[in-house]
């Protein structure tokens, strides 16, 4: 078996008493695109709107769903494996929302950005998807080729919590 390598092999986890930023590797990401009925049939669910997460399914556009589940057959849909295309960075603990607020023009207030929702936005001009996994845990999906750069940007934003 060939050995997989991460875009973040050269970094150390950022761990302080206040905040943790680590890579969260080993996920499967598959994009399914197509008509609602075909997607619903293949995936069992079709999240009602963009920005919510249901059973590991993220609706990223009107006709596209990202699935974090194992790939399935999806007749009449366009399936694109994307597991290598994104690097996942987990940022957790109380200041996580404040750190993210230094990076993206999204309202990360608890009342607005709740668990099981996500936002596609930009950090340092790079497209990212930020998933609120739990109140104080966020997954940032960043394009793999920009991963180190965005890692540096995020951990630098967290300097005050070091």
């Amino acid at each position: 078996m060939l050995e997989a390598s991460s875009a973040l092999v050269s970094v150390k986890p950022y761990v302080s008493s206040l905040l943790t930023i680590v890579e969260a590797p080993d996920f499967t990401l598959t994009q399914y695109a197509g008509a609602e009925k075909d997607l619903r049939k293949a995936l069992g669910k079709f999240p009602a709107r963009i920005g919510i997460v249901q059973d590991n399914l993220l609706r990223v556009s009107p006709i596209q769903i990202w699935s974090l589940n194992e790939a399935v057959e999806a007749p009449n849909c366009f399936v694109t494996p994307l597991s290598s295309s994104r690097t996942r960075i987990e940022i957790s603990a109380v200041p996580a929302r404040d750190v993210l607020a230094k990076c993206a023009a999204i309202d990360f207030h608890k009342s607005e950005f709740k668990p099981n929702t996500f936002a596609q936005t930009g950090i340092h001009h790079v497209p990212v998807l930020i998933h609120c996994v739990a109140d104080e845990i966020f997954h940032v999906y960043v394009l793999r080729t920009f991963a180190l750069s965005i890692w540096d940007h995020l951990t630098d934003a967290a300097l005050e919590y070091k």
């Binding site: 050995e3 997989a4 050269s10 695109a33 607020a101 309202d107 080729t145 005050e160």
Partner: protein, 976 residues
């Protein structure tokens, strides 16, 4: 003999916390709660600077951000900050402040001689003396003038301070924490709205801090305490609202405490904005009104009540309105002898009574004829009926109040003039913006509190939110005094009556501008420099507008104001850059092979956002020579190169072939599965957009590649066509640039290398011909082998998912090690393609047609494609266009250079030439420098001699126009 002293009265300083600082090298001390200005004043420092043009001695005028004179250079080395406003600087331990614009010292300034040259430094002096027909002299004199006139000097050192940005959101943003702002913030916070209160000062309270009134102080403390109990209320001190932009974006710059950043620029998106920025007092204009010790009446009151700094013995007050009497009474109660020169003829009875009770002498219908004392006021001479000379330590002046309406006007709403208070007030408010208190021209404390509350209620309406709210408890005052003012804006006589202190603009300059026809306020500003500089005329604009209006016989409302633009206060450039400096300047894009390249001696080069391996240690340490060895490896044996940065797009769907057939100029409808084709795309205008190779993976799936540079453009373009126009096509596109990595294996031994790497796969020409595509698996990992060549040699591209690209690369290197395979970098890659005559990003200048690049024959004659119609427009078909040619250097030992301007051998070397070099390299095959270029008329000039001019290096090199295909014109090598 100092003119000021500390009193013992309780104020907003903490006498238990002394703080030391230095001013012009001398160590001084103040207290926590002081500003740099109040601490200097308490130390008896009244001479604080020299003026901009005339180097006149200057002292404090104001106590707030509007201060025009007290500007210092603070900090050292890279942390040096010129033009720090002393009145807006919190006194903290270790401040080193230096006065500006004085040499050798403040007290003895050589340039003060300029005072006597003032006739020549009058309005429009730069324009008249040095510009126009004599503009060459400007070049000569500018450095001297810039040295003689000016403010602080920026240092060349890198600013090592850290600056941050943050994005915030709230329901209600309240700007200003005076009585109106506090009331608005508390009211909004009581309904559990997300409230942000921004205050530029380090203490909340605004004008309340200067009042000296116990009742108001209690009220202030109560409101602050309540705000702390509301979880959703954020209170930002030391935070200046710099501007309001579209979409209710307010830019706040905050100086955080106990934080690694010196400053945080906050982009606050507020659903509603309550502007409670108060008002600024105006100076009066009279002879020598700039002498140290002449101050705004409200500033004198602030220093007294907030900082416990009082004039030593005697004060004169000159005013045209009632507000200055607060200062008069407070001074009298602090045992200062007070005389009032009242410009008005009559005064209300209660003021007269209270003045009499406190022993204050009032001279009605009086003004100031002159100020005596140069570096510190000693006395004033009154004008009018009571032309007496009165000794004093301070002259407190009040010309009335100007609402701080900047933020209301940033969106383009012009202020309007209010006769009653002789001031400009907001001309209106944008939807979801509200004003409260002084900014509206409402000057009473109780009235301001009520307006703050009302504004918060109005904001709720906007938020579709209603709740029974407890009213704000009002402080137990007996009611607000009405504000009465009667300004006299006739232009006073005299040579040294200053309107704009910071820019040294006098009444004389305004008269002159008027005489010379610079009548509008915008012209007046540019001609006299009035209202420019770090204070942007906060204290001077209204007086100047009024005088110009008077000279023109216009009402104020017709004169108008200059345009208010952000930032409201000076802002360090570093704050705007934020963390985007140094290594964080822009995001970097790294190949999945990046770590391998680092570990194996690659030197990197930036290509757009990408960091690409430029050349490798094994070939040498110099970019000038290493790539030549790498080229030789590819031409003679086999090399491997990282091509992961290519744009890659998954094109899927039943109509995918039709779609590609439309976007590429050449045919894709009939491309067989397992084959690749080189294609070129045009924009609608017929100009080349991009090129690349696209492979057919299945009947309904294609794997498109684009150039590195245009990947994003192409992706957006395809999405645009599919989503907005060709909605009948069932096609879906997804970027795979990050999902897939790739490498080129090139050279005469490339096939042998693949055979070693994939022994179970048939890669013979029969199984994998030129432009063939093969999908295989390597230990379970899907791999695509595409037989295509950028270098002109026998070559393959091998792609797989990015997680495994490094493993695949290492596998090929290890497997083919016996051949001597080695990596080659971007420089060699680019050089190889130049020899082959392949165009790339550098040669495409977004003005090229297919024919310009010699690709016209590719386009389908019968089929339709994007850009076909406009490709044939007259301009694109002009007989003479800048078209692709090859160039060979004809002079041994000389270089061709990218960007060199091309001339025919007989041309004079002058002007823009006939073309330019777009790519250049040393050719290992031809043993000379070769280049690709765009040349007027293109290959019609093949064989002609030209000159490549590179004026930056003073080089003119002889060269010849040749075919851009320098090697293997028949393509024998790549078909091998």
């Amino acid at each position: 003999m100092t003119a000021f002293r500390r009193t013992t009265k309780a104020a907003h300083i903490d006498r238990t916390k002394p703080i030391t600082f230095t001013f012009d090298g001398k160590t001084l001390s103040g207290f926590a709660g002081d500003t740099l200005a109040s601490a200097l004043l308490a130390n008896g420092k009244t001479l604080l600077g020299r003026s901009f043009k005339y180097h006149r001695p200057r002292g404090l005028i104001a106590a707030g951000l509007e201060e025009p004179n007290a500007l210092f250079t603070t900090g050292t080395d890279g942390r040096t900050e010129p033009n720090t406003t002393a009145t807006a600087t919190e006194l903290v331990s270790g401040i080193t402040a230096k006065s500006q614009n004085a040499w050798p010292s403040l007290a003895f300034d050589v340039m003060a001689v300029n005072q006597f040259l003032s006739p020549i430094f009058s309005a429009g002096f730069y324009y008249k003396t040095f510009m126009g027909p004599l503009k060459k002299s400007w070049m000569m004199y500018e450095p001297i003038i810039r040295k003689a006139a000016g403010l602080g000097v920026a240092v060349p050192d890198v600013d090592t301070a850290r600056y941050e940005h943050r994005y915030t959101f709230c329901d209600v943003l309240v700007i200003g924490s005076g009585p109106a702002g506090l009331a608005a913030a508390v009211t909004a916070a009581r309904s559990n709205l997300r409230v942000t209160l921004a205050e530029q000062d380090f203490e909340l309270g605004g004008s309340l801090l200067s009042s000296g009134n116990e009742v108001l102080e209690q009220w202030r403390k109560t409101q602050i305490a309540e705000l702390e109990t509301h979880k959703e209320a954020r209170v930002l001190k030391r935070t200046t609202a710099q501007g309001i932009y579209d979409g209710n974006l307010v830019v706040l710059n905050c100086i955080p405490q106990n934080h690694p950043a010196k400053m945080i620029l906050e982009q606050c998106r507020a659903k509603t904005i309550i502007i409670a920025t108060g008002a600024i007092e105006r100076p009066l204009v009279f002879e020598n009104n700039d002498r140290p010790g002449v101050m705004l009446a409200s500033a004198v009151c602030t220093y007294l009540n907030r900082h416990s700094v009082a004039p030593k013995k005697r004060a004169v007050i000159v005013t045209n309105n009632d507000s200055a009497y607060t200062t008069a009474f407070e001074l009298a109660e602090a045992d200062v002898a007070v005389t009032v020169a009242e410009q008005r003829a009559t005064l209300s009875g209660d003021l007269l009574a209270k003045a009499a009770q406190l022993g204050i002498a009032i001279f009605p219908s009086s003004g100031i004829a002159n100020v005596i004392g140069e570096k510190q006021i000693r006395a004033v001479r009154l004008s009018g009926r009571h032309a007496a000379t009165i000794e004093c330590d301070v002259l407190a002046m009040s010309g009335g109040w100007s609402p701080v309406l900047h933020l209301t006007s940033h969106g383009g709403i012009k202020p309007k003039y209010d006769e009653k208070i002789a001031a400009f007030v907001p001309g209106g408010f944008a939807p979801s913006h509200y004003g409260a208190g002084g900014v509206n021209g409402t000057f009473g404390v109780l009235a301001a509190i009520r307006e703050g509350e009302t504004a918060a209620h109005a904001a709720f309406e906007n938020l579709v939110f209603r709740k029974n709210l407890e009213a704000i408890e009002l402080p137990a005052l007996r009611g607000d005094r009405a504000y009465a003012i009667q300004p006299d804006w006739t232009v006073p006589e005299g040579k040294h009556a200053f309107v704009d202190f910071q820019n040294d603009v006098t009444t004389k300059d305004i008269k002159q501008a008027h005489q010379e026809g610079y009548l509008s306020v915008e012209h007046l500003k540019r001609y006299t420099t009035l209202g420019m500089g770090t204070d942007q005329g906060k204290t001077s604009n209204i007086n100047a507008i009024a005088m110009m209006a008077d000279l023109r016989g216009l009402p104020m409302s017709a004169a108008g104001t200059t345009t208010f633009r952000p930032p409201y206060a000076p802002l360090t450039i570093g704050a705007i850059a934020g963390r985007n400096v140094g290594a964080h300047f822009k995001p970097k894009r790294l190949s999945p092979l990046h770590d391998w390249h680092i570990a194996h001696g690659a030197t990197f080069i930036e290509a757009g956002l990408w960091m690409r391996a430029w050349y490798y240690d094994w070939a040498g340490n110099s970019p000038e020579t290493a790539y030549i060895k790498e080229m030789e490896l590819v031409r003679g044996n086999v090399g491997i190169s990282d091509v992961s940065s290519l744009g890659k797009i998954d094109v899927q769907g039943p109509d995918a072939a039709e779609f590609l057939n439309r976007v590429y100029v050449n045919g894709f409808a009939k491309l067989p599965v397992g084959r690749a084709r080189y294609g070129v795309m045009l924009n609608d205008d017929g100009i080349v957009l991009d090129d690349g190779t696209t492979s057919r993976i299945s009947h309904t799936q294609f794997y498109m590649t684009t150039t590195t540079a245009q990947a994003g453009e192409v992706m957006s373009w395809l999405e645009y066509l599919l989503q907005m126009h060709w909605t009948d096509l069932n096609v879906h596109v997804t970027s795979l640039t990050d999902e897939w990595g790739g490498m080129a294996v090139s050279g005469p031994n490339a096939r042998r290398a693949l055979q070693l790497a994939f022994p179970d796969v048939d890669v013979t020409t029969e199984a994998l011909p030129y432009m063939g595509v093969m999908e295989i698996e390597l230990e379970g990992v899907p791999v695509r082998i595409l037989r295509l060549s950028f270098s002109g040699e026998l070559a393959y591209e091998v792609h797989c998912s990015a997680n495994y690209t490094t493993a695949l690369w290492e596998h090929i290197l290890v497997s083919a090690d016996s051949l001597g395979i080695k990596p080659y970098g971007l420089e060699a890659l680019a050089s190889l393609r130049i020899e082959k005559g392949h165009v790339a990003g550098a040669d495409l200048d977004h003005r090229n047609t297919l024919d310009d690049l010699g690709l016209g024959k590719m386009a389908g004659k019968e089929k339709d494609y994007v850009g076909k119609a406009l490709r044939f427009r007259e301009d694109c078909q002009a007989p003479v266009r800048w078209s692709l040619v090859g160039i060979e250097c004809m002079e041994d030992g000389k270089k061709l250079r990218g960007g060199a301007i091309l001339f025919a051998a007989s041309d004079e070397i002058k002007g823009h030439g006939r073309g330019y070099i777009t790519s250049v390299t040393w050719s290992t095959e031809l043993n000379k420098f070769i280049a690709l270029a765009l040349y007027n008329g293109g290959l019609k000039h093949e064989g002609e001699d030209i000159i490549c001019a590179f004026p930056l290096k003073n080089e003119n090199v002889k060269a010849r126009i040749v075919s851009p295909h320098f090697i293997d014109k028949a393509g024998e090598r790549l078909h091998a």
